[in-house]
Structure formats: C-alpha cells, structure tokens
Symmetry: C2
DNA sequence: ACCTGAATAGAACAAATGGTCTAAACCAGG
DNA sequence: CCTGGTTTAGACCATTTGTTCTATTCAGGT
C-alpha cells in the first residue's frame, strides 16, 4: 500500500474517531509510525488530506447512484439506495460530523458540494416522477410539496450522523437501520396504497430507540 | 452593562460570525477593546463562555414553551412555536453550526442536551395527542409512525441552520421562513382534511428557493 | 559498483493559544 | 482622604501547530 494511501486511511480512521480539529499531522504520523515531516512531504497542505477524503466519498456515492440508476423505479430501489448511501456516509462520517467547519475551511469543497447538491436534487426529482408514473407515489397535494420532501430528505440525509453521534445509544448497525427507517418514513405518507404496502415491512421492522 | 455580559454578547456575535474555533479569548477581548487578561479574569475557563451561552439559549426556549403550553392545541399554536423556536435558535446559531464539536468539548452541555431532548420529545408527543383529540391529526398508520415524525421534526429543527449556512442564498428572514415551511411540511400529510386546510396557507406562502 | 531521484527522519522556526501573575487603576464606604 | 476589595492591562510562560529545511537512507537503473 502506497504511503499516501496509508496516510489517507489513517487520517480517515482518526478523523472519524476524534474529529478533524483534535487530530494534527503529528498525531496521524505518530499513529502510522512515520515522521510528521514525511507526512508533509506527501501532503504539503493538511487540507489536501481532508479534500481527498471528501473526493473519495463523492466517488463512492457516485458508484452507488451509477449502479442504481439503471434499476426500475420502485420501493426496493429506493431502499437500496438509502442503505448504500447511509453506509458510505458513515464510513466518512467525520465529514458530516464537522460539516459546517469543513465547508468553511475548504471553499473548494463547499463549491463542489453545492453543485453536487443541486445535481442530486434533480436526480431525486426524476426518481420521484418515476415513482409517480409507476403508481407508487401520490401526486402533489400542493405546489412545491415534493420539493419540500426532497429538502427534508437531504437535510436528514446529511445530518442524521451528527444527531446520532450525540443522541443514539446502540450499535452501528442499529444506528444505520434506525435512521434509514426514519428517512424512509418521510416518504410513506406520500405513497399510494400500493406503495405503502410495499414500504410498510421495512418501516415496522422493529429495532430499539 | 456589566463587563461579563458584554463579553457574552461579543462572544455570541463573533461565534455566530466565525465559529467557536477561529475565535480565541484574544479576539473577543480585542473586539471589545479590553485586555485578554481581563477577559480571563471574568471567565477563567473559555468553555464557560460557551456553556453560559448555551444556557441562555435553553432559557429562551423554555420561555417560548412556557408561554405556548397554555394555548389550545391547534395549527396556529404549532406555527407560533415553530417560528419562535427557529428565531431563538438562529440567535445562537453558532451552537447549532458546531453542534457535534461543542457537545464533544463540553460533556456537561451534552448531558444537559440529552436530558432536554427526551423531555422535549415527551412534550411534542403530548402536543400531537392533543392535536389528534382535536380532530386535526390523523391516527398513526403504523405503530411508531408518530415517534418517527417527532424524530424527523427534531432532526430538522436542530440542523436546518447548518444546512442553510452552506446552501441557502438569501436574507435571514427568507431563510427562517423557508425552513419553517419545510418543517411544517413534515406534519402536513399526517393531518386530517380540516388540519390540512388550516396549514395550507402557511405552506404555500411562496418564497424563493 | 555507482548514480540519481524519491522517500524518510528529525531538527528548527515562527505564530498563536490558553492560562497565570503582577502591578496599577478604580471606586465605593468610612 | 484613607482603605480595601474589584477590575483592568499587560507581561510572561509552556505548549502546540503547520510548515520548511537539511541530512540521510533507499531502491532501481546503468
């Protein structure tokens, strides 16, 4: 494994554990058993490490969406994408635990994220249209309702990890399952009877909290 | 105005503007035109400033809930509490922008917040029961649905500021109004026809984004 | 064997930070 | 006008941090 990849892996691990601010180049180097000078040789700017990890997350998420875009619209596809997305986010959770600070610190990342966000919003809008045409999603009850649903969905998707970090007691698996259910619950009352029947088993697959 | 109050006011202002990490005791003191030694005389531990500001926010939120608890359950009461809560949160937004870091840094605050959270959850559960008995809220479609609604509600309530900081373009007023609508949209599909009629004007009071 | 460029360790540095300490200024009450 | 506590300014200190720099080592090609 290349040294720069080992640096990224170690940084990811330590960032997830303790946050970006408490972890310095010296900590990461010590954890790896290399000198911090060496680390700075590979990543002259500390921020480059964070930025690279952000790009890695984006790449993983793109993989998820690429795979799923060819599947037919439906509840199973929706749930798959939810689970895979949440799992990927969790692997890079430090980014979402420190969301605002990191975005403020790295303007390039912020710009990228904003552009990505509008792009993803369009994707989800398309998916919702597909669900509606398949007779799974009810039409809007008032103009802009589905836009609100999208906003709710992404807000929850971006911050469930932060809330869980403070409030959730339980294993990582339970955590992911719980918040995936809460997110899926967002769409339930917008579904047709058929859609509700399909989603219900997932929503009521009980777990603590 | 007592010096310690001026310190809190200045710290709140600077924290909201630049976050807690970039702002040091020296920055706050310089902004006020006093020496940092003097500031440390009033707040020997820097964390005390943050903790005190957190307690101030909690006190303001308690005021809001105290005032509204005596009002009859209904959509107007719900919207009032939403608006007042969001406004108070926004005044102390640095706390919510740096949520995880601050909670990690101040275990006392985290413990207090967790206890407050379960308390608030019970309050909201009671309010939902009131709405249901008043014929405004539909009964649960599946066990735990309203608990999920509560979870969605608080997650959005705690993190709308963070998302807005990165994504929202527009005035503070528009920002508050937009996210209050998104939050109110959470409950809309759970309402009876009467409830929906009452809420609809608020949801469709259009604004940009 | 030798050369060359990449990789590594570790010293060095300047800047910033939280906190302490000392001495001066201030300001009521006698 | 004294006095004793409170408030303030500013020096001081130990520590940390990102970054740079200088040697030294290593590995592969000739």
């Amino acid at each position: 494994m290349r040294t720069s990849d080992r640096i990224l892996a170690t940084a990811l691990h330590l960032f997830n554990l303790h946050g970006t601010d408490s972890m310095t180049v010296r900590h990461i180097a010590r954890e790896m058993g290399i000198s911090h000078g060496n680390l700075c040789y590979h990543f002259p700017r500390t921020e480059d490490i964070i930025q690279q990890l952000y790009l890695n997350l984006v790449a993983e998420l793109n993989d998820v969406f690429g795979q799923l875009q060819h599947q037919p619209p439906g509840i199973p596809t929706l749930l798959d994408s939810l689970r895979l997305t949440f799992a990927a986010q969790y692997r890079y959770r430090f980014l979402l635990l420190d969301f605002v600070r990191i975005m403020r610190r790295l303007p390039a990342v912020q710009a990228h994220f904003r552009q990505l966000y509008t792009q993803r919003r369009e994707q989800l809008r398309g998916a919702l249209n597909g669900l509606r045409e398949a007779g799974i999603l009810l039409p809007e009850q008032y103009p802009g309702q589905h836009d609100q649903l999208i906003a709710q969905f992404y807000l929850l998707g971006d911050f469930w990890i932060a809330e869980a970090e403070i409030l959730f007691e339980g294993s990582e698996t339970d955590k992911l399952a719980y918040y995936a259910r809460v997110a899926a619950g967002l769409i339930y009352p917008h579904l047709t009877d058929r859609g509700r029947q399909e989603l219900l088993p997932f929503l009521t697959s009980a777990a603590p909290q």
